[in-house]
Structures are given as structure tokens and as C-alpha cells.
């Protein structure tokens, strides 16, 4: 049986990838673990309860009417120590002539909050009536949480990492083993070799984006407001741009060490500047045009706009332009530089 060379080459790419358990973990497992870990760390918890101390049973009883305070009754001698060591953020004790004295650190926001809550509870217990009735509307919408901001960033980082690494490592390893040279000694059409990398990437992309996105949507209820088609097209475009970048890195390098150094040198600035974990807007204004021109920034901005704001394809045109430019420039420069041996 003689199958098509492109099919065989692409199959080889899959086999080599799937038979490397570490690679499978870094591409699929790691982003999910990272999202899970960060999602847990930054989850929106119910408003925090503040721990305070009171020295008389009377005060303790009136303070306990406030749900946001966890009141401990302390002997007067221990109260100071508890405050100093941070076990409580405030201590309430009776002063002279029926007054109340609050001891707390006014530079600590928790201390100030506790002061207000404690005083309100004490006054209300003493019979104070609020002149204006007020009620609370709580804002805990999906889409404005940290995990919602984070998932598009992780997706973009993953798209970049797997494409650049897959391309650069695969080609440099084959060159180092003189496998490329051996293939050149057969009638294999050269373009099929490069095409097999792109094809296998596209197939793995579906699984990879599906896994991370599916996890985020199911577990953290991260929204996808924009169209899934636009999201998919954007992932394909960005993956191809990063493949071209990987190809450029791999065009001449002879050793894995050199390839890995170059790959890290190129990706590290983008991990930091392109807004994976925090908004790229935090960098000074002078840097913004430069940051906007980075491919990872374009990907992440577009993914966030699609998922969180429901941006249309047309609204993502600037980012698509940046990515297409990277794709074309990297690809043609790489072809010029590429060494087939």
C-alpha cells in the first residue's frame, strides 16, 4: 500500500508528538492546570469577615449583631497582644462615662473597615435609627472576574508556545540527526515537509484550544460572547503566524540548545509584555505601539475582545492585520534563510 507522502509526513508528526508524553503534558495538561490554579487563587470569595476583639460581654453581644464581624471576647490583658500580633484587627473596650474606645491601625484598610462596621453595630445596638433606608445590589457577573481576563491570555500563550516550539524543535532536531538531509536524498517534495508541520499543528490546535476553552467554560463559566467561528479563525491565523516564527527560528540553527535559547529569548518578552497575566496597558505609553505590534498582544487582545466583549470579525481587523504581517514576513524570510541540511 502506497499512501500520499503528505499524509505519511503528517502522520509521522502526530506519532512523534503523541509518543512524547512530556510534550503532550506541556501542550494540554499545563494550561489547564495553570488556569485551575490561578482560577482558585483569584476566585471571587464572599466578602471577607473581619476578626475583632471585645473585652466585655456586653460589647461582644452588640458587636455580634454585625454579620461581617467575627467577634472574640478577650480578657483586657490579652487584647493588646492579640491586636499587635494581627490575630484581630480591632479591639473594642469600654471607656470612661459609657463611651467606647476602638484600638486599631488606621493605616490598615481592614482596620478602618472594622472600625466602621463595629461602630455601626454598637450604635444600632444602643438604639440608633438610620434616617435613610439603603439596600445593596451585588455585582458578581461572569466576564469581569480575573479568571475571565486570564483564560484568553493563557489561550494565546499556549497558541504561541506550541506552534513556535513544535516547529523549531521538530526541524532543528531533524537537522541535527541529519534526517532532513536524508529526506532530501529521496524524491520527497520539499514543500510537503513544511506543510506537514502546519497540517499537524492545525489538527492539534482544535484539540488544544478545545481542551483549555472547554475547561474554562465548564468549570469557571468563562463567557464566550463573540462568534465561535471568528474565534476559531483567529486561532488558526495566530497559530500559522507563530508557526512561521518558529520556522524562522529553525531556518539555520544546528543545535537544540541554540534553538531553545532563541525561542526563549523571543517568547519571554511577549509573556511579560503582551498581557497574559495582567493588562498590557500597565506599561508606559511610549511602549504601547511596540507592544501592540507584538503577535502575542494581537492574539490576546483579539481573543479577549471576542470572548468578553463579543467583538465581530470586522472589529478585530487591526489584530488580524498585525498577525498576517508577521505570518508573511516570517515565512518569506525563513524560506530565504532555510538550510535543508
Amino acid at each position: 500500500m502506497n499512501s500520499h507522502p503528505l499524509a505519511q509526513l503528517t502522520l509521522v508528526r502526530f506519532r512523534e508528538f503523541l509518543r512524547e508524553p512530556e510534550a503532550v503534558f506541556w501542550v494540554f495538561g499545563f494550561p489547564i492546570l495553570l488556569a485551575a490554579g490561578l482560577g482558585l487563587a483569584f476566585r471571587n470569595r464572599p466578602a471577607e469577615v473581619l476578626e475583632i476583639g471585645a473585652v466585655t460581654p456586653q460589647l461582644t453581644a452588640s458587636l455580634r449583631t454585625e454579620k461581617l464581624l467575627d467577634v472574640r471576647e478577650l480578657p483586657a490583658g490579652d487584647a493588646g497582644t492579640a491586636l499587635r500580633t494581627g490575630k484581630v484587627v480591632l479591639v473594642a473596650e469600654p471607656g470612661a462615662n459609657g463611651t467606647v474606645v476602638y484600638s486599631y491601625d488606621d493605616t490598615n484598610p481592614e482596620g478602618r473597615s472594622a472600625r466602621m462596621l463595629a461602630d455601626r453595630a454598637v450604635q444600632r445596638a444602643a438604639g440608633r435609627q438610620d434616617p435613610i433606608a439603603a439596600s445593596d445590589a451585588l455585582m458578581r457577573e461572569p466576564g469581569s472576574r480575573y479568571i475571565d481576563f486570564l483564560v484568553p491570555g493563557l489561550l494565546g500563550m499556549n497558541l504561541m508556545g506550541s506552534a513556535v516550539w513544535g516547529m523549531a524543535f521538530g526541524i532543528v532536531d531533524a537537522r541535527r540527526k541529519k534526517l532532513i538531509k536524508r529526506l532530501m536524498a529521496t524524491p520527497m517534495p520539499r514543500e510537503y515537509y513544511l506543510l506537514s508541520f502546519a497540517l499537524s499543528r492545525l489538527v492539534l490546535l482544535v484539540v488544544e484550544v478545545g481542551a483549555v476553552l472547554g475547561f474554562a467554560v465548564l468549570v469557571f463559566h468563562v463567557p464566550v460572547h463573540g462568534s465561535l467561528t471568528a474565534l476559531g479563525l483567529f486561532c488558526v491565523l495566530s497559530s500559522m503566524s507563530f508557526c512561521a516564527l518558529g520556522l524562522l527560528i529553525a531556518s539555520r540553527v544546528q543545535t537544540i540548545e541554540a534553538a531553545s535559547g532563541m525561542t526563549n529569548a523571543i517568547m519571554m518578552p511577549m509573556w511579560i509584555c503582551s498581557g497574559v497575566f495582567f493588562s498590557a496597558q500597565r506599561f508606559p505609553n511610549v511602549m504601547q505601539p511596540l507592544i501592540k505590534a507584538l503577535p502575542l498582544t494581537a492574539v490576546i487582545d483579539a481573543l479577549r475582545a471576542n470572548m468578553l466583549q463579543g467583538a465581530t470579525m470586522a472589529q478585530l481587523a487591526p489584530q488580524a492585520g498585525v498577525l498576517s504581517a508577521w505570518l508573511l514576513v516570517c515565512f518569506f524570510v525563513a524560506l530565504k534563510l532555510f538550510r535543508w541540511r
Binding site: M1, P5, P187
Partner: protein, 314 residues
Amino acid sequence: MSPNATKAALRVRRLRKTYKDVVAVNDLDLEVRPGECFGLLGPNGAGKTTTIEICEGLTPADAGEVEVLGMHWASDAKALRQRLGIQLQETQLSDKLTVLETIDLFRSFFQQGPDGMEVIGLVQLEEKAKSRVGNLSGGQKQRLALACALVGNPDFLFLDEPTTGLDPQARRQLWELIEKFKLSGRTILLTTHYMDEAERLCERVAIMDHGKTIALGTPRELIASVCAEHLVEFSAGTHAHPLDLAAVSAIDGIRDVQHENGSVRMQVTELHRAVPALLAELGRQAVPLTELRTHSATLEDVFVTLTGRHLRDE
């Protein structure tokens, strides 16, 4: 020109290749006839690999002409690649693939040829068809590399040091496979720095040194051209009763007699005549023979005679 020259499988004219200040191939001429196994023999750095890779269309030459199966790399590369089987020195095939997957990959590049399992059978790796390449022994890997060269049913096989680094048993196994392939009447060009390999496999041999051919012919011819076919060494005589060397030298068919530390070394053309004559002469002189050894001259002796160096000297 001889009639053979017009239908040479490979013809190389005034080939030249320079790397920086090293001349790797220096105005080399070669001709390989259809159906023969031709050996490029020489020490490391003689220019064998550069020459074979230029012939394989993998390395461009600085000057000179290469014609393979009547075609040229500049104009007929695509057609040529379909008809050549190539084994490179030191290719590491992917460890993660199985033997059959590797063969199927290479097979897919060729328009015609046997199917995967058939090629694996040719190199006797049937039992390993489903094993990962990474788990094969050195000899098995080398046989797989040979199989990758055979997938396209090639008319011309290029083998660059096919047995370097293998143990003697694995080398013999590979030689048998190459001999089997020779029986099918196809042409082989192989490089080696083992003279026994060249003597066993090759109809004709070119000895290369410093990018040039310094001798060309059948292994027998080459050996005959520089020295007699056999070397005889013996020790005889005592202090009290020394050997008369002049009488030994005078025996017909014995030449180049050298005396060294009580041992005598000489060249003979016909062992079956020289040895009885020698024994008769020793009997006439009544000196006891204490040691007698003979060995056939090899291509190694040819190389040493031509260059004053051994083949395996780096």
C-alpha cells in the same frame, strides 16, 4: 573511449570541491559501470563522503561534471531521485517511529517499489517490524537504513560507510545483504575504510587519498601491481649454525627478502612453489625451522605501499 564508457552508470569528470582552505576533492575522475559494485576506499578525510554526496546531488561541486544513469542533477533531479537508493553516513532515523512506519514513510516518496513488509523482509527485520527504531541494535538500525535506500527499487545504490561502527557479526550480515542485492544486477557505489569490505564486495576499487584517486582496478590487480600476492615470514638457524640468506634469496619466485631480529620476511608470487623450495633449501643447509607464517597481501598493504601510511591512521 572504451565502449564501456559510453554507457557508464556514473561518470565523474574533473570534479573539484573546496571547503574554506581544504581541498576535499581534487580534479577527480571516476567511472562506474552498470551492474558493478564499485568501492571508494581511503582513510578518513580522503574526500570519499564529499565525492559520494556530490554524486548523490546533495552537495554542489565547485567544478567538474557528474553524470548519473545518463542524467544530470541540474536538469533531471526529479527523475534521478526516483531511481537512486541512498544511504548516508550517520543518519538517525526517528526513534519514536516503528520500523514499518519508517519504511512506509520512505516508500510514500517513490512512485514504484516493493511494499513495506517486503522491503523489511529483504533486510531480515520482519520480527522487528512493529518495534520502535529507538529499541533496535546498531546492526539492525543499519539494516533499516539500507531498507530505506531500497524502498524505491533503485537502479543505483549509494552506500556511504555502511558498516562503520558495527560489530563483526553485524558487518558480515550486512555484507550478505549487499551481495544479495548485487545478484539482481544493479549498480552500487560504496565508500569504506575497511579493506576487507572492499575486497569482499567490490568488483573494482578506487583508492582515494587527499581528494584524488591514487590507484584504480580490481582488488587483485591492485594487490598484484604493488606487491607479490603472498608474504612469507619464518625463523630458522642458530648462532652456531646460521642461515645462509643469500642462498634463500636466490630461490626462484622469491623476492624482497628482509632479515629482521632473527626473522626473515619475503614476498612470493606462488606460495605452492615457494614454500617447498624454501623447505628444501633449509634442509640442504641443515638449519632447523622454528617458525613459519604466510599471509595474502591485502588492499591495506597496497595503501601502505602507495602512501606510507595505514588506512586507519587519522
